[in-house]
């Protein structure tokens, strides 16, 4: 818990993967509209 560099790495990685990367993938996989 004391090592700021480990915390820095985790602090950047966890939010980036859980929020940014996953959201980015979802947006990229939006299927084309059929407009029934």
């Amino acid at each position: 818990m004391d090592n700021p560099w480990l915390l820095l790495a985790l602090g950047v990685l966890v939010p980036f993967v859980s929020y940014t990367a996953w959201g980015w993938i979802e947006i990229m996989n939006v299927p084309p509209a059929a407009l029934p």
């Binding site: 818990m1 939006v30 299927p31 084309p32 509209a33 059929a34 407009l35 029934p36």
Partner: protein, 175 residues
Amino acid sequence: MSIHVPAADWFKAPTGGERTWIGLALAWCVVLSVAMPYWHLRGKQNSTGEAYAVEPMKFSERVEAFVASNKVGEENGVPVVQPAPGGDAYLLAQMWRWYPILKLKQGQSYRVHLSSLDLQHGFSLQPMNMNFQVLPGYDHVLTLTPTSSGSFTIICNEFCGIGHHLMTGRVIVEP
């Protein structure tokens, strides 16, 4: 003190009131965590973000086709359009109007397609105060079932330029 180097053995488990509170807070967080999936499966109001990529112009043409085929009237210049129960309804957001006016039936569910011709807009149905984001390039589909009847207004609550506060629309629901 909080500004001094802590005693060497600072790493120890919580005790007493602190421990009780952490337990209570954790239990409350579990309740919070369970509430959303529960409502997702059992609740009647959800936002699944169902959306399809669309060219703004193509969406606009589809709206015009929808108006042409289902128009039932007009309200000071704006066509009133009635989709078939359970069918698709199209609503276009553009600088500074919601087009067309939709006439629905209470208790029937409709596939409402929301998209924008230009900027981002905020679909805000009053007075129920139901709010959804409308983005250009995305056909945001809401499976909507009116549970009350009457005449309701749509306003825009996402800033879309100087006429943003003039952007209104209407939804009429027959019992």
